[in-house]
């Protein structure tokens, strides 16, 4: 188990800045997910942790060891950082059998043969490859290759696991199963894990905390439920959640400090944010739809009905404004039907239009 500290890390490629002054603390045994669109710097950050990239500025500490420091001119090579990594492509060596692939790291560490063999048997059995250890990677399915990569990581028992989109090459079903397994191995080993993905479901289901990145900067670090309920800015709000959050730019209507409108719809957020121009963030499930008139509700036309198994997604239109609402699966809504919808004020997030930052309820007047 090891804690990891990242301080003011900056990495540039020519004129492009891949990481801009990134600071981060990772607790021992934590499962931390780096989430973001492609090009956001999440893989660069992971590779800096691994030692495969040399940052331009900043410091990385693992446990008690400074593994990188631009100021103190320290750069511990990857092999000496005592960590394991699973690559997106698995990076299995095609000319070695499954067993030799897993054994390589032990060979480099000069592990005594009986210990190594015992460890190999245990690890290969654990990941369910006990019977396949003499096969070559090309003779395995995608899921099995993934397990070999995992076994290779586990064999040397590193206290830190790094994973670079390890499940992105698997089909959807297998991905579900492997999520559970990865989580199991990680908690058994109690290893501090940093996991890169662009798949938010993966991030939400596996992590203890999620780091959302954009353009080389950290947008938010939160446990998954908080990330979903209280995105710190409109980018995170928009990036997390499927179907997407409704973001409506609105102005104070002048009648009440908590009432806003965009001309088509009126929303009372229930408290006074203290800004005239705001963006209201409403998750599709925060909109209640009914066929009969309700208090505070406004009438909308249903412009699309998208049934999706356990839920149904409705597109509602009022004037030029469209909203997405989530309703239960047992519904009989049809297109062009008129319905009443109102917002669950307690669940709404309010952002300052100018900065896009969340306005804290306690700070509101």
């Amino acid at each position: 188990m090891a804690q990891i500290y990242v301080r003011n890390l900056t990495k540039r490629y020519g004129n492009a800045t891949a990481l801009n002054n990134v600071s981060l603390e990772i607790d021992a045994g934590e499962f931390l997910v780096l989430l973001g669109p492609s090009g956001c710097g999440k893989t660069t950050l992971l590779r800096c942790l691994a030692g495969l990239e040399t940052p331009d500025e900043g410091e990385i500490v693992m446990g008690d060891t400074v593994v990188f420091s631009a100021e103190k001119k320290i750069m511990v090579p990857p092999g000496k950082r005592n960590l394991g990594m699973v690559f997106q492509s698995y990076a299995l060596w095609p000319h070695m059998t499954v067993r030799d692939n897993v054994k390589f790291g032990l060979d480099v560490l000069k592990t005594p043969k009986p210990v190594a063999e015992e460890r190999l048997d245990a690890v290969l059995g654990d990941v369910g490859l006990g019977q396949l250890d003499q096969r070559y990677p090309s003779e395995l399915s995608g899921g099995q290759q993934q397990r070999v990569a995992l076994a290779r990581l586990l064999a040397t028992q590193p206290p830190i696991f790094l994973m670079d989109e390890p499940l992105s090459n698997l089909d959807a079903r297998l991905r579900m199963d492997m999520r559970v397994e990865l989580k199991r191995f990680q908690s058994n080993a109690a290893a501090t894990t940093v996991y890169v993905t662009h798949d938010q479901t993966e991030a939400m289901t596996m992590s203890t905390r999620v780091v959302v990145m954009k353009d080389g900067e950290i947008q938010q670090i939160s446990p998954p439920d908080q990330l979903y309920r209280q995105p710190q800015n409109t980018f995170v709000a928009d990036f997390v959640g499927m179907p997407r959050i409704n973001l409506v730019a609105a102005q104070a209507d002048g009648k009440s400090p908590s009432a806003f409108t965009n001309g088509d719809i009126h929303v009372d957020v229930g408290w006074a944010p203290g800004e005239a121009d705001i963006v209201i963030g409403a998750r599709p499930e925060d909109i209640t739809v009914s066929k009969t008139e309700a208090p505070k509700a406004q009438d909308y036309e249903i412009t699309a009905v998208l049934p999706n198994g356990p839920e149904t997604i409705l597109q509602l239109t009022r004037g030029k404004t469209t909203m997405i609402a989530r309703v239960g699966h047992d519904t009989d809504y049809v297109e062009k039907q008129m319905v009443w919808a109102h917002f669950d004020a307690a669940a709404l997030n309010v952002y300052a239009a100018q900065s896009g930052q969340l306005i804290d309820r306690e700070n509101g007047t």
Partner: protein
């Protein structure tokens, strides 16, 4: 203030890391060694032509050995000997080079079209035969030509032509520009054929079909679509073939020297045997310049045109075969006859010549195995024993195999290391410089390259001993001359190995050497192995590269064969060249087998 000192510190730490990185060490080391082995010899060659030599005191009273002079250049360009030494050979080189190139391109182009685009039968087994003349030493073709058209007027016994027709062949048919051009064309048409076939294979028939649909006739399609698309490759092939022909030494020497017909390449050799070293070096520089210009021109063509004509689109690509109809079999017969004449007949001729007791006398009673298995007989061939009892030949065989084997392995490993540096450090200007230096030997005509090494290693320089006359020098020049090819093979192999495979090993703590040995080498091995075989065959049949550097103790098969040919011992030289030809063919067959079998299997595993 503190900002500056911080940046200074940082760059110094980067510097420290940079100089302890084994890849950087290898890069700097290779740069230094290759600069000495590739660039410095050329500089040395130029200096040599611009200074008085020891031997020059015989020629000029002004000669002060070691002092600067334009004498050699003036002597070559405007002296009384200049027409014989420079302009004559230059004209001859241009004439034979251009004639051979045109012949080779026409033959290669027509054959390429037949094989790639027509429904001619028997393509599969005609194709390897058509590449035979390029695989066997060019010297073999010249010897076969001589066997047919040799004329007693110039010396020696009559050839097949005279023996059967009763009259001596005209001299222009036996020696000089005509036979040199034709045999050069025979040797190089497969090269042109491969280049043009490659270009033709990239044409998507849909482009032609598109023209047909818009109403263009077949001829118009050919003229407006097919030809313009292939044209850049065709022109590049033209220039490259020319560049290759001008460096040929053994072939023009054998078919030109008896009648004092010299090309620049043969003149270099002739001058060196006369002791006119500086003059030979001037000619070597002239030859290098010609080669540089031709390669530069061809690169310009390929660089400017082919990118615009990028035709490989991946999806929906298909090549339509054009039906020859009634002409199918006549075309096949013509191509097969041609293939037999240029590919197989020369080898048969060499074989037949090697079992004739007295050459030029065609009868069953004249047949003998003496030149293969006979012991020394003072009445035959000045007492030279047959191949299997001849210590010179046996020694040369051993030397040949040793040289080819050692050179191929060293060239491949160094090529792989250079390729690794080039691919993995693509952004480092020094890595790019290394890549370019390793390519330079490709630009030197081989005989000129040999001449450079002759000047460079004649005397000890600092810690480097005088390597002239040693086997090491032959290995050195063979390795360096193969580098352009082995680096290319290596680059192809390394690019196929994903960087993550190596990073995974790096994370496991493997050092660079461990990674290179356990990950890179095994994964690149299939590609490198076939590259090694190519080098093995290439070194084995090489003559002009090493002819100037050979001494009696370091003889190889090709130079012994050349020596016998010079002495007029046709049977023995035929036998030797036949041996080399057969060895190279075996090598190529192994290569084909590796390519089809093992490599395909390994590649499957990698994907």
């Amino acid at each position: 203030m503190s900002d500056t000192s911080q940046t200074l510190h940082k760059s110094s730490s980067k510097f420290q890391r940079a100089v302890t990185d084994p890849v950087n060490i290898a890069m700097l080391l290779l740069l230094a060694v290759l600069a000495y082995l590739v660039i410095w010899p050329f500089v040395q060659l130029v200096i040599e032509t611009l200074t008085w030599g020891q031997g020059d005191r015989r020629i000029s009273r002004d000669a002060i050995p070691g002092e600067f002079t334009w004498f050699h250049w003036l002597q070559a360009t405007s002296g009384p000997l200049s027409s014989k030494m420079l302009y004559g050979p230059l004209m001859n080189t241009l004439i034979t080079g251009i004639a051979a190139t045109i012949l080779a391109l026409v033959a290669g182009g027509v054959l390429a079209w037949c094989v790639v685009r027509s429904d001619m039968p028997g393509k599969r087994w005609l194709q390897p035969i058509l590449t035979l003349p390029y695989i066997i030493p060019s010297f073999a073709i010249a010897l076969a030509w001589e066997a047919v058209f040799r004329s007693p007027k110039v010396g020696g016994q009559p050839g097949v032509y005279e023996a059967f027709l009763g009259t001596a062949p005209p001299e222009w048919l036996s020696y000089g520009a005509f036979p040199i051009s034709v045999t050069l064309a025979i040797h190089y048409f497969p090269f042109a054929y491969l280049l043009v076939a490659g270009a033709l294979a990239t044409i998507d028939s849909q482009m032609e079909e598109g023209a047909l649909i818009s109403g263009a006739g077949r001829l118009m399609t050919l003229r407006r679509i097919t030809f313009p698309v292939v044209a850049p490759a065709f022109v590049a092939a033209l220039i490259l073939t020319f560049g290759k022909t001008i460096g040929q030494f053994a072939l023009p020497f054998l078919l030109g020297a008896p009648t004092q017909f010299h090309t620049v390449a043969t003149m270099i050799y002739a001058n060196l045997t006369l002791g006119l070293d500086s003059l030979a070096f001037v000619l070597a520089i002239v030859l290098i310049t010609m080669s540089l210009v031709s390669i530069w021109l061809s690169n310009r063509f390929v660089g400017n045109k082919s990118r615009r004509f990028e035709t490989i689109s991946g999806k929906g690509f298909r090549s339509r075969v054009i039906a020859l109809g009634a002409w199918r079999w006549p075309v096949f017969v013509a191509v097969a006859l041609f293939a037999f004449t240029v590919g197989i007949l020369p080898l048969i001729l060499l074989g037949v010549q090697s079992v004739m007791l007295i050459d030029g006398f065609y009868g069953l009673e004249n047949l003998t195995w003496h030149f293969w298995v006979g012991r020394s007989n003072p009445e035959i061939a000045f007492g030279e024993p047959g191949v299997v009892h001849n210590n010179i030949i046996l020694g040369a065989t051993w030397n040949t195999l040793k040289l080819a084997f050692i050179s191929a392995i060293i060239a491949s490993v160094i090529g792989l290391v250079i390729a690794y540096i080039t691919v993995r450090r693509a952004h480092n200007p020094l890595a790019r410089a290394l890549d370019q230096i390793a390519f330079i030997p490709f630009l030197f005509p081989t005989i000129a390259f040999g001449a450079m090494y002759l000047t460079l290693f004649a005397e000890p320089v600092g810690p480097i001993p005088a390597l002239y006359g040693t086997f090491s020098l032959l290995v050195l020049i063979s390795v360096v001359s193969r580098l352009p090819y082995s680096v290319k093979t290596g680059v192809t192999a390394i690019t196929q190995i994903g960087q993550e495979l190596e990073e995974a090993a790096e994370l496991a703590g493997a050092s660079w050497l461990q990674r290179f040995r356990r990950i890179i080498m095994p994964l690149a091995s299939s590609g490198v192995l076939s590259g090694m075989m190519v080098s093995f065959v290439g070194v084995m049949r090489e003559l002009s590269l090493i002819i100037l550097l050979i001494t009696p103790s370091t003889r190889v098969l090709m130079t012994v064969g050349f020596g016998y040919a010079e002495e007029g011992l046709a049977q023995l030289s035929n036998a030797l060249v036949l041996i080399v030809a057969v060895l190279t063919i075996i090598g190529e067959l192994i290569l084909m087998w590796i390519g089809k079998g093992k490599m395909a299997r390994l590649r499957e595993k990698q994907s």
